[in-house]
C-alpha cells in the first residue's frame, strides 16, 4: 500500500488526511452539542490521533537498513520540512512558549529568536555537506572525518547527554497531557504515551517517524492556530492574530500605566540583562545546529539541493507557530488585565476558578481588600495556551483539539529523539564498533530492541517526576552546542582540523559546559560574569573552538586522503561518499 507511487501521491494522501481530520473535529463538535460528555470527547481525540500515528507507523514498517535509518533518502524537501517542524517543536514549545512570553514579555523573545535563527546555520554550514557525506548518524560523520572510534565515542557521549534529558521531558509532557485529559494516573499515562511513541517508530524507524511527523505537524498547527484566530476575531474583529495584536500591545501599555505595573510587556531587558539575553540566543541557535535529531532529518532528502531548500521549508513551518506565540501572550495578558485584575475575588471569570482548582492559577489576596491586584495573581506558564479556548468561551471540542495538538508536538519530538539515541547505540556502537560483520536482519533486531530499551528507561525516569527536568531541556542546547558545533563546522570548513584537535575540542567544550552546569546548579558555584547556567554554552562553545584550533595546529596536518575527502563533500555532484546498504 505504501510502495512505489506513495511518494508521488503525497499531496493527495495528506490532503485527504487533513480533510478527514477537520471532518473528525466537526463530528466531535456535533456530538458535543448533542450532549456527549466532555470526557468521552477527550478520549476520542487522544485515541483517534494516537491510533492514526500507530497506523502510519505500522504501514511504514520496513526490513531495509537504509529505509530504517534514513527513510530511503526519498523524502521530498517540503515534507521533510514539515517533519522537521514537528520533530523540532516539542510539548514545551507548544504548551509553554506562549506562557513564557506572557510572563517575561520582551525578554521571552530570546526563545523565539534562538529557536528559529539556528536554522540559518544548519542550512549554510552543515546540512548540505552532511547530506553529501551520506552518513546514517552524526557520530558516523565524526568517525570518518576524524579518523576513528575515539571521535565516534566522544560524539556518542555528547549525543546521549543532550538527547536523553530532552526525550525524558517529552515523555513527561505526554504523561501530563494524557493524564489531564483522560483522568488516568500520571504513571499510567506516561506508559500509555510511551506505547504511542513506540508504535510510531519501532517497526519502521526513520521512514515511519518521517510520515508520522508530517501527520503530527498538520494536527499541531491546526490546533495551535484555531483558538487564537477565533479569539482575535472576537476581540478585534479580524481573524489574523499575528497582525492584530499590535493594537492589543498598545492597550496593554496603557493598562499597565494605569495599574502602576512596573514591568512593561514590551520593555527589553527587565528579566534578563543584555548579556544573558544575547547569550541565551546564541546558545539556543548554535544548539539548534548541533542537535543530532534535527541534523539527521536532512540525511533523508533525495539530494544535496533538496537538503538546502528543505531547511527553508522547515523554518517556514516552525515560523508559523513561533510568530503566533507572542499573540497568544498578548491576548491572554489583555484578557487578564481587563477582566481578571481589578475584579472582586469572589466573582472572577470561570476559567480562573477552573485552573485555580488544579493549582495552576494561584491567587493570594495580600492586602485583604477582596479585589485582585496584578501582583496577587500567579499563572503557570502552561495555562495560557490550554486556557485560551475557555477564555474565548469556545466549546470543549476546541480544548480537546488543543490537547491533541500538544500531544502531537510531544510525541513527534520524542520519536525523533528516541530514534537518534537508539540509532547511535545500534549503528555506531553495535554495528561499527562491536560487530561489524552483523547482517542486516540482525542489525535491525538490535536497533529495535535498543529503541524499546531506551524508551522504557526514559519513561521510567519521567514517571519519577524529576524536579528540574524543564531546565534540563534548555541545558540540552548548551550541551549540544558545546560538544558538537565546533567539530562539525570545522570538519567541513577547515581542512586543517585534525583528529586530535577535534577530540580534544569536543572534550574541552563538553567538559567546560558540564562543569559550569553542574557546578552552578548543584555545587553552589558562583556564576561567571553573572551568566545564568541555561547559557553555559557561552563558555563551552569558545573552549571547543580554541582547543580544536590550537591542538590541530600542534599536530601534523590531516593526510592527503582526508583532505580529498573534505573536498569531495564540498561538491554536491557525485552521490553520497559513504555508500551503505
Amino acid at each position: 500500500m505504501l510502495k512505489g507511487d506513495f511518494i508521488s501521491n503525497l499531496g493527495k494522501v495528506y490532503g485527504i488526511y487533513t480533510g478527514g481530520f477537520i471532518g473528525f473535529v466537526i463530528v466531535l463538535a456535533i456530538l458535543e452539542q448533542m450532549g456527549v460528555p466532555n470526557q468521552i470527547i477527550g478520549y476520542l481525540f487522544v485515541f483517534m490521533t494516537i491510533g492514526i500515528y500507530a497506523l502510519i507507523g505500522v504501514l511504514s514498517r520496513t526490513a531495509q537498513i537504509s529505509e530504517y535509518y534514513v527513510a530511503g533518502r526519498r523524502v521530498p524537501a517540503i515534507y521533510n520540512g514539515m517533519a522537521t517542524g514537528s520533530d523540532w517543536m516539542s510539548g514545551a514549545s507548544f504548551v509553554g512558549m506562549a506562557g513564557t512570553l506572557y510572563l517575561l514579555g520582551y525578554d521571552g523573545l530570546a526563545f523565539v529568536l534562538g529557536w528559529t535563527g539556528g536554522y540559518v546555520l544548519v542550512a549554510v554550514l552543515l546540512a548540505p555537506y552532511l547530506r553529501k557525506f551520506g552518513a546514517f548518524t552524526v557520530p558516523d560523520f565524526l568517525a570518518v572525518r576524524y579518523g576513528g572510534n575515539i571521535a565516534r565515542s566522544v560524539g556518542i557521549i555528547v549525543l546521549i547527554s543532550c538527547s536523553f534529558t530532552y526525550v525524558t521531558a517529552q515523555i513527561y509532557a505526554t504523561g501530563i497531557i494524557t493524564s489531564r485529559f483522560l483522568g488516568l494516573s500520571f504513571e499510567v499515562a506516561v506508559f500509555a504515551g510511551l506505547l504511542g511513541i513506540l508504535l510510531c517508530s519501532m517497526l519502521g524507524g526513520m521512514r515511519a517517524v518521517t510520515w508520522t511527523q508530517v501527520a503530527q505537524y498538520i494536527i499541531l498547527i491546526i490546533a495551535y492556530l484555531t483558538p487564537v484566530v477565533i479569539l482575535s476575531a472576537q476581540i478585534t474583529g479580524v481573524p489574523i492574530p499575528q497582525l492584530m495584536y499590535g493594537g492589543i500591545l498598545e492597550k496593554i501599555s496603557v493598562l499597565e500605566g494605569q495599574m502602576g505595573i512596573v514591568k512593561s510587556h514590551v520593555q527589553p531587558f527587565t528579566t534578563y540583562d543584555p548579556l544573558n539575553y544575547f547569550a541565551l540566543i546564541l546558545c539556543l541557535m548554535l544548539g539548534t545546529a548541533s542537535l543530532p535529531h534535527i541534523l539527521m532529518r536532512y540525511f533523508t532528502t533525495p539530494s544535496v539541493r533538496e537538503a538546502r531548500i528543505s531547511v527553508g521549508w522547515s523554518l517556514l513551518f516552525i515560523f508559523l507557530l513561533y510568530f503566533t506565540a507572542p499573540s497568544y501572550a498578548a491576548f491572554a495578558k489583555y484578557e487578564v488585565l481587563t477582566n481578571v485584575v481589578g475584579q472582586p475575588i469572589a466573582s472572577l471569570p470561570a476559567w480562573v476558578k477552573a485552573w485555580g482548582d488544579i493549582g495552576l492559577v494561584t491567587i493570594k489576596d495580600a492586602n485583604l481588600d477582596g479585589i485582585l491586584q496584578w501582583a496577587e495573581l500567579n499563572i503557570n506558564t502552561d495555562v495560557i495556551v490550554l486556557a485560551t479556548p475557555e477564555i474565548a468561551g469556545l466549546p470543549y471540542v476546541v480544548a480537546g483539539l488543543v490537547a491533541a495538538g500538544g500531544l502531537a508536538a510531544a510525541l513527534s519530538t520524542a520519536d525523533g529523539l528516541l530514534l537518534a539515541i537508539a540509532n547511535a547505540l545500534s549503528h555506531d556502537i553495535y554495528y561499527k564498533m562491536v560487530d561489524p560483520k552483523a547482517d542486516s536482519k540482525r542489525r535491525l533486531i538490535v536497533a529495535r530492541v535498543l529503541l524499546v530499551f531506551v524508551a522504557v528507561i526514559a519513561a521510567w525516569l519521567a514517571s519519577t517526576k524529576p524536579s528540574d527536568i524543564l531546565s534540563m531541556v534548555a541545558w540540552a542546547f548548551s550541551i549540544a552546542a558545546s560538544g558538537l558545533f565546533a567539530p562539525l563546522v570545522l570538519g567541513v570548513w577547515w581542512k586543517r582540523a585534525t583528529s586530535a584537535g577535534a577530540v580534544c575540542g569536543m572534550i574541552a567544550g563538553f567538559g567546560v559546559c558540564m562543569f559550569y552546569l553542574v557546578g552552578t546548579q548543584y555545587g553552589g558555584m558562583q556564576t561567571w560574569f553573572g551568566v545564568r547556567n541555561i547559557s553555559a554554552g557561552l563558555f563551552g562553545i569558545p573552549a571547543a573552538f580554541v582547543v580544536t584550533w590550537v591542538v590541530s595546529l600542534l599536530t601534523p596536518a590531516p593526510s592527503k586522503d582526508m583532505q580529498d575527502f573534505v573536498d569531495s563533500i564540498r561538491l554536491p555532484r557525485g552521490g553520497p561518499i559513504m555508500q551503505e546498504n
Binding site: L113, G117, V120, A123, G246, V266, P274, F278, R305, G312
Partner: protein
C-alpha cells in the same frame, strides 16, 4: 562517480561558496543580535501598535531568517550550476 573536476575549478567554486557563506552569516548576525542591541531605542517607533524593537524580535528577524535561507539555497544552487558541480 561523475567526471573529475579540476582542482582549479573546485577551488573557484569553493571560494564563491565561502563568500556566500560569509554574506549569509553576516545577515544572520545582524538580524539575530545587532538589531536587538537597539531594541530600547527602536521601541520608540510604533507601527500598527507594535513598538519596532519588540516587532523585530517577535516577527521581523524571523521573516528575515526564512527569506535568507531560501535566498541562500537558490544562490548556492546557481553557484553549483555555474561550475558544473550540481547534481544531475
Amino acid at each position: 562517480m561523475a567526471e573529475k573536476i579540476s582542482p582549479e575549478k573546485a577551488e573557484a567554486h569553493w571560494s564563491k561558496t565561502r563568500a556566500l557563506m560569509w554574506t549569509s552569516l553576516a545577515i544572520w548576525f545582524l538580524s539575530s543580535f545587532f538589531v536587538h542591541f537597539f531594541a530600547p531605542s527602536l521601541n520608540k517607533i510604533v507601527i500598527f501598535g507594535f513598538p519596532l524593537g519588540f516587532y523585530m524580535a517577535a516577527q521581523g528577524s524571523l521573516i528575515i531568517f526564512v527569506v535568507l535561507i531560501f535566498w541562500f539555497a537558490i544562490k548556492q544552487n546557481k553557484i553549483d550550476e555555474e561550475f558544473g558541480v550540481a547534481e544531475d
